[in-house]
Symmetry: C2
Subunit: 338 residues, 2 copies
DNA sequence: TTGTTTAATGTAAACCTTTTCATTTTTCAT
DNA sequence: ATGAAAAATGAAAAGGTTTACATTAAACAA
């Protein structure tokens, strides 16, 4: 691989001039510029990112951490952020943490050691204290789906309690009384918040909380299926199920069908996140909107402004603030009782 | 941020020793090691990846390029590769190219300038010559969904022609004669190959090729819907539609439904790729398996072996060779005619 | 012990840029 | 034409690590 030195020799100028041409920052005479560009081309020169970053103490890259690289929720979130960052000419790195504490820490360490200028994190296990400690460095950090009060301006999330409350309330208002709840893993704060929203709604309408209507599982289709079966086997009177997320809801629909019951005629189901397949499955799934794509775009936009002083070219479909009031989308999977 | 020098001073040893402790390569006395580790911890030392990569000419990272970060096909592909790479303790970088030639080149340039030790590329627009030129460097390159003869051992793909042939043949064998074809964008080689497989099957069974049964669109649900409508408006006798991929197929199902027709009673539909939602929608979608996850794992495994001399811990569910014979999964979206 | 081999550690150059500061060249007003 | 100011360029240090080579300390045999 050729280096800047070789380019400078071929072009008959100094290192510094080649660097200036590359970065386009300072004045270089047009004739010189062309000589350098020609030399670069001839040698197939490609700047060494490591050396640049070492010398400049900047990497021109933004790192993102997500739990998984696949899945209907993370995909749009990554895409949104990527689009905004790349359009601004900055580089974008992604690492997956698999929602494991140690791996989350390692992933962040890695992004930091890459000298990322900013970080976008969707973390599931890390404590507020750990996240706060990240702020002490000079790397901008934005958290998605998480609210740490002391980092308020750097957090983007929806009000999970409110979202779950809305979903439950809709069911209550439409005459459902025996509403089951398929919880996500309660080690995750969003799963806990969603549970709390359910409880709040019951309380508001004076509906007794029945522990037998609660089951907990992973945020997956398989576990939704498994856990919904448990629920259906022990309860014959339930008319609706609120699910921790859409994947679980889809598993629940399968379980309901296998029990010879119909969604929504026998049982109404509401998911959470409103991922793309909600509108694809049969019946279409009612859900609480969690605007993953917009969160990605918004996170990136804030970074572009704050770190690079660039006015972002993309904007979100609707304004995104720190804590967003979620909307409920009603589709075929629910019905009102008389 | 603290540096290796500060660590060495605090521990009372030389730079070299700290480096040796970090890398664990050479002999260091146990007592010394502990001193160094303690100093690192005390300072919160984090190695500078740029400096390491510059000095060692290695980055311990593998780069991947995909067209999009979201979507049911790329997600599993990224996940498979990521899992294998990270388990081996190497780092994993992803960039998106948006299936645009210039952006694909830029993305690759970026990964190379990051000194990635190896590249996994899913490219759509680049020429064989360009890809061959990448091989001249000392960076290992693996191509997914692409076969360049001169790089045979570095390519992983399915036989698209064969896949499409199988799907078409199934329909023919089950008495379908008027089989329409929803093509993907013919600038993409896989879309072209799939078209070719369709033609081959017709030819083999002496079914005349009817241009009015062919429409071309993007590989998206929206375009599948749009293009299927065109097809349905001008053809009243078709009984089956072969689609360029699963997204298009889903769009086609919607179009068929809106025309007051039923899948599969009136029209049979087969997709391509067998992404996860095939089994989730109604009717479940028949498709040709394109093992994205396994391709990711296999690509990573080959790199681990060749570049790092590490025996990979993960293996694919079934053996993956360079060009794989695809399987057809028959689900509810097709029926046999009498 | 003494000398020899091996293990542990240290020194300093190298990796490729950026960037400060100094120097040279150009421009332009007089 | 002259000098001052501005623009263009160059020289060299700095950035944090690895690693070849040199040195010192430990281990061990005689």
């Amino acid at each position: 691989m050729s280096t800047i030195t070789e380019v400078s020799k071929l072009a008959g100028v100094s290192l510094a001039t080649v660097s200036r041409v590359m970065n386009g920052t300072e004045n270089v005479r047009e004739a010189t510029k062309e000589k350098v560009l020609a030399a670069m081309k001839e040698l197939g020169y490609r700047p060494n990112a490591a050396a640049r970053s070492l010398a400049s103490n900047k990497s021109n890259s933004v790192g993102m951490m997500v739990s998984e690289l696949h899945g209907p929720f993370y995909g749009p979130m990554m895409s949104g952020a990527e689009r905004a960052i790349r359009t601004a000419g900055k580089q974008f790195l992604i690492v997956a943490s698999h929602a494991d504490e140690e791996q989350e820490k390692k992933a962040i360490e890695y992004l930091l050691s890459c000298q990322c200028d900013a970080l976008i994190l969707h973390c599931e296990t890390l404590s507020d204290e750990y996240l706060e400690s990240l702020e002490t460095g000079d790397t901008e950090v934005i958290l998605i789906n998480r609210m740490v009060k002391s980092m308020h301006d750097n957090c983007l999330s929806i009000d999970n309690v409110q979202g779950s409350f809305l979903a439950t309330e809709w069911l209550i208002k439409h005459k459902h009384n025996n509403i089951a709840c398929l919880l996500g893993p309660q080690v995750k704060h969003d799963a806990r918040e969603r549970f709390w929203g359910y409880q709040q709604a019951l309380a508001k309408y004076n509906i007794p909380f029945r522990p037998e209507l609660i089951e907990q599982g992973e945020f997956t289709q398989d576990d939704g299926y498994r856990v919904a079966n448990i629920l259906l086997n022990k309860n014959t009177d339930l008319t609706a199920i609120i699910c921790g997320n859409d994947e679980m809801a889809f598993g629940a629909i399968q379980a309901v069908n296998e029990h010879g019951l119909n969604v929504p005629d026998d049982i109404s189901i509401i998911g959470f996140d409103d991922v793309s397949f909600c509108a694809m499955i049969t019946p279409t799934l009612s859900s609480v909107i969690n605007p993953a794509y917009d969160f990605g775009v918004e996170a990136a936009s804030r970074i572009l402004k704050r770190v690079y002083n660039i006015e972002p070219k993309f904007s979100t479909s609707k304004p995104i603030s720190e804590v967003n009031v979620p909307d409920l989308v009603i589709r075929e999977s629910v019905r009102e009782l008389e």
